[in-house]
């Protein structure tokens, strides 16, 4: 598929947003390695964090094919305002309930996004989406099992998971901040758009939290946590990038 410059730019924007989400959240979630609540969960959560880095890598490799710099340079040398991740991915890990709820709300959206992209008219992107569908499906199974069990557990677990849901659900709306020029993607059947994705996500989340005995209150305006897709980030991204690029920055030309 040959893309005209305008479409190519919109496609790159979509790929940057998705890849940066996975890189930044993958890095965040990896902070639990060695500290997870129990050994088995620690291993599972760390492994899923690595999956996210692999997904980001595949997307950066596609960007490289489309004329962008090599994946390491993209991941480790861009400035904060060049990142396109949503605010949700940037927040510190908090207590495990926060990280688990973020993992649930984010990966549900990721699965729906990768489902959409599996049908993309841009075949290079649909190949990647199909390749990682299984990984993300497991992430969702893992998240849903915890949400279901904690929501229906005892009074304490329900209370705590409800607090985390109330905290993270508004932040998650930033995932669906409309992309610049996404109408071009929609017209060219490359991607159905953030609005369509958000509609599907809300239906799905609504059903799961109901089964988990969690109450869904729509309280905040949904654009409150927008900005990430335009390079405007929370105060938490910069320290994360400094830490993530610490080793790379010692010698950017080192052969690994």
């Amino acid at each position: 598929m040959n893309l005209n410059p305008e479409t190519l730019s919109a496609v790159k924007n979509l790929i940057y947003s998705t890849a940066d989400d996975h890189l930044v959240l993958g890095h965040r979630n990896s902070e639990w390695t060695g500290l997870g609540p129990i050994l088995e969960e620690d291993i599972a959560f760390s492994s899923m964090a690595q999956d996210k880095l692999g997904q980001a890598l595949a997307l950066y490799q596609l960007l490289n094919k489309l004329g962008e710099r090599d994946p390491d340079t993209i991941a480790f040398t861009r400035k904060e305002n060049e990142f396109r991740c949503c605010h949700l991915t940037e927040y510190p890990i908090g207590d495990y309930g926060f990280s688990l709820m973020r993992h649930f709300l984010f990966d549900e959206a990721a699965l729906l996004r990768f489902d959409m992209l599996s049908n993309s008219g841009f075949t290079e992107l649909s190949h990647i989406a199909k390749k990682f569908r299984g990984e993300i499906k497991y992430h969702v199974m893992h998240a849903e099992e915890w949400i279901k069990q904690l929501g229906n557990g005892n009074e304490e677990s329900n209370r705590r998971i409800q607090i985390m849901f109330d905290t993270v659900y508004p932040l998650a709306h930033g995932i669906f901040e409309p992309l610049e020029n996404e109408n071009i993607l929609i017209e060219n059947k490359i991607y159905e758009g953030e609005n369509e994705l958000e509609q599907r996500w809300r239906v799905r989340i609504g059903k799961i939290v109901k089964d988990a005995n969690i109450i869904l209150n729509e309280t905040e305006p949904k654009d409150k946590h927008y900005g990430g897709r335009r390079g405007m980030h929370t105060e938490y991204l910069k320290p994360l990038l400094l830490e993530m690029t610490e080793v790379f920055s010692i010698d950017p030309n080192a052969e690994w």
């Binding site: 500290l35 997870g36 050994l39 088995e40 291993i43 069990q149």
Partner: protein, 125 residues
């Protein structure tokens, strides 16, 4: 004083230095589950290890990352460890003569020659 460890999971449990003998509540003491792994459809499920989980559903979720992230896997089983009935260690002698009973094995019969002969005849016919 409570037990300090390099593993923060141990330290935050605030375990006493001297073990007390009060029974653990279920919520602090998950069951173990045995995990069985199938590497291809139609193959046997093979025991690969055990893990802690609050129930079978969660055991299955956790088993995927503990035992199926590096090797081919198409299916997993989990079984609560306490649901397995095992023969007793002191009864090991009941198996003792087994290696001497080769005469009972099907491999003792030389049937391949007959089968090949039959196949060849069918091909010709």
């Amino acid at each position: 004083m409570s037990l300090k460890s390099l593993d923060p999971r141990i330290t935050r449990e605030e375990l006493p230095d001297v073990p007390d003998n009060t029974p653990l509540k279920d919520i602090h003491h998950w069951n173990t589950f045995e995990v069985f792994h199938q590497s291809k459809t139609g193959g046997h499920h093979i025991h690969v290890g055990s893990l802690h989980a609050p129930n079978a559903e969660m055991a299955l979720i956790l088993a995927k990352e503990q035992y199926a992230r590096r090797y081919n896997c198409v299916n997993l089983w989990v079984v609560k460890t306490s649901d397995i009935l095992a023969s007793k260690k002191e009864d090991e002698e009941i198996f003792e003569t087994t290696p001497e009973k080769l005469y009972r094995e099907a491999s003792g019969y030389k049937v391949m020659e007959k089968i090949n002969k039959f196949k060849n005849e069918r091909k010709k016919g």
